[in-house]
């Protein structure tokens, strides 16, 4: 084991891991994080904290991670390349490690045009694949970026993750793209929310054919749908999201007040299906502003209690 990460430990011991996600608030109240954390503690093995998701300004991911850490949760610190250059990112990596963060998720980030500051300048000094290589260099080689490759005194021991969208286009390079991230040093992947299980299985097959599942733990992403409206919105307005029409029809087929329940059923079934797909080592349940449902979903999927 390279790090003190809870999920690295559980994965090495051969467990099927469960992670979830917590979005920081649009304000400075730590109680919001504590409340969400309380709903997830003991329910999952680690909790992602998003980094100004959809480019909307929120409490910093690292700060919210520390608040979760104080509750005894192992946070996964998400970092996007949109807002920081290589100087800020290397500095934050050292700081995160110093604060006891064990996991990092390297992302390119949504474009700022989606958020509340569409007039902002973006950074993109490095991309997500390159970011993986930066953490790896700091951790495994103990070297900073730069001509001189100076030595890091006190290496940041972070378990290195990234995201991948099996449904993004062009489909034929999606497994190859994961290969690049693995080559750069990625140790776990959380995928985009899966609604089209067949297409996901097709991607997984390619991933396994390339032997990538042996080098990197794939956690399948699941986003429970609250309503038929949410499903249609995702299909139409979230780029790179694949929501089959049958699923929307299934939700529409039940009365509005029961659609949430049906959405949870779909999420549970999805977890059970992806669990059987060769190479899948865990699930990542993203219940967006619906954290109270995670325990129910995990339990119904037969994944409770979590291993010590």
């Amino acid at each position: 084991m390279k790090t003190k990460s809870n999920i690295e430990r559980l994965l090495e011991a051969g467990n099927f891991v469960v992670t979830s996600e917590c979005g920081p608030p649009r304000g400075s109240d730590p109680e919001v994080i504590r409340k969400k954390g309380a709903l997830l503690k003991g329910v999952v093995d680690a909790v992602n904290v998003t980094d100004n998701q959809t480019s909307i300004v929120r409490m910093s991911s690292l700060s919210a991670c520390v608040i979760l850490k104080e509750l005894g949760i192992d946070p996964i610190w998400q970092v996007v390349c949109r807002d920081r250059n290589r100087i800020a990112i290397q500095s934050d990596i050292l700081g995160a490690a110093a604060l006891g963060i064990n996991n990092m998720l390297c992302l390119s980030g949504d474009h700022q045009s989606f958020g509340d500051n569409p007039k902002a300048k973006n950074v993109y000094d490095i991309d997500s694949t390159q970011l993986i290589s930066v953490v790896k260099k700091l951790r495994d080689e103990g070297k900073f970026l730069g001509e001189k490759e100076e030595e890091v005194k006190g290496r940041p021991n972070l378990f290195i993750g990234a995201a991948e969208n099996p449904f993004g286009d062009p489909f034929e390079i999606r497994a190859m793209r994961l290969g690049k991230k693995v080559k750069a040093g990625c140790e776990f992947i959380q995928t985009q929310g899966i609604y089209n299980v067949e297409k996901f299985a097709q991607w997984m097959k390619e991933v396994c054919d390339r032997g990538l599942d042996k080098q990197c733990a794939i956690l399948a992403g699941v986003i429970p749908l609250k309503s038929a409206g949410m499903a249609s919105y995702m299909k139409k307005s979230v780029p790179g999201m694949d929501v089959p029409d049958e699923l929307i029809a299934r939700l529409k087929g039940v009365p509005k007040e029961q659609q949430g329940e049906e959405g949870i059923k779909i999420a549970v079934e999805t977890i059970q299906k992806v669990k059987e797909i060769p190479g899948v080592r865990g699930v990542h349940v993203m219940a967006i502003e619906w954290e109270e449902k995670v325990a129910e979903i995990v339990k119904a999927a037969g994944l409770s209690p979590r291993p010590e």
Partner: protein, 224 residues
């Protein structure tokens, strides 16, 4: 070529509000080709300004003049004999030309009438599109001739991001995803294996990030 857009009449009227006598200065290079600041556009803007000011009862005298280039001192010097007769110069060149006119006449007021936008190409008559950001270290040989710096909304070197869908960029449904184009191109060239190579972290010091850039060809310099 360098592509630009003329500012709105309202904005230009605001810029010239304090002046009664201006020199409207076009350029015959790129800004003519992209139909924003050539001799024709100088003529159009001059009449628009005169009409608007006349309506306001604040008549304005405008000298129209279009230089071969506003980025070369030998041409800019042509306005030297008469520039002081005008209270301000309104330049219709690209940003480089406007800067240089201002540099050459540091005591004169030089105002911009053009918003310079990008280095691009003419896709069809009346349609221009960005292709290069002058990053100073070209990698088009790695990406099938499609620039990820200028054409990917996130300038990703190992794209596409998760938002690429049906060939379109997540940012705008009318914009091609650069990485879809790169993959298609590499495939057409039978070089998809190139995609598997990680493009290393870029040296941005050759780009604008290194500060204003200069190019010197000693062999061409005339040093006396």
């Amino acid at each position: 070529m360098i592509v630009g857009n003329r500012k709105s009449l309202e904005e230009i009227l605001e810029l010239v509000k304090p002046y009664k006598k201006i020199l409207l200065l076009g350029c015959r290079e790129c800004i003519t080709v992209c139909a924003a600041g050539g001799e024709r556009e100088v003529g159009v803007l001059a009449s628009e300004l005169k009409i608007a000011r006349k309506k306001d009862g604040e008549e304005i005298e405008i000298k129209e003049f279009t230089l071969e280039r506003q980025c070369d001192v030998e041409y800019i010097e042509q306005i030297k004999p008469f520039i002081d007769e005008y209270e301000a110069v309104v330049s219709m060149a690209c940003g480089a030309g406007i800067n240089y006119t201002a540099d050459c006449f540091p005591k004169n007021i030089v105002l911009p009438a053009i918003n310079t936008t990008f280095l691009g190409v003419t896709l069809e008559q009346g349609v221009w599109s960005e292709r290069c950001q002058g990053c100073g270290e070209c990698i088009l040989h790695l990406t099938g001739g499609v620039c990820p710096v200028a054409r990917c909304a996130k300038s990703l070197f190992n794209g596409p991001c998760g938002g690429s869908a049906k060939g379109v960029c997540e940012v705008d449904k009318d914009t091609d995803c650069a990485w879809q184009l790169i993959v298609d191109r590499l495939k057409a060239q039978g070089k998809l294996e190139n995609y598997e190579k990680i493009i290393e972290i870029k040296d941005w010091s050759t780009s604008r990030d290194g500060g204003p850039r200069r190019r010197i060809r000693e062999d061409l310099r005339i040093t006396s």
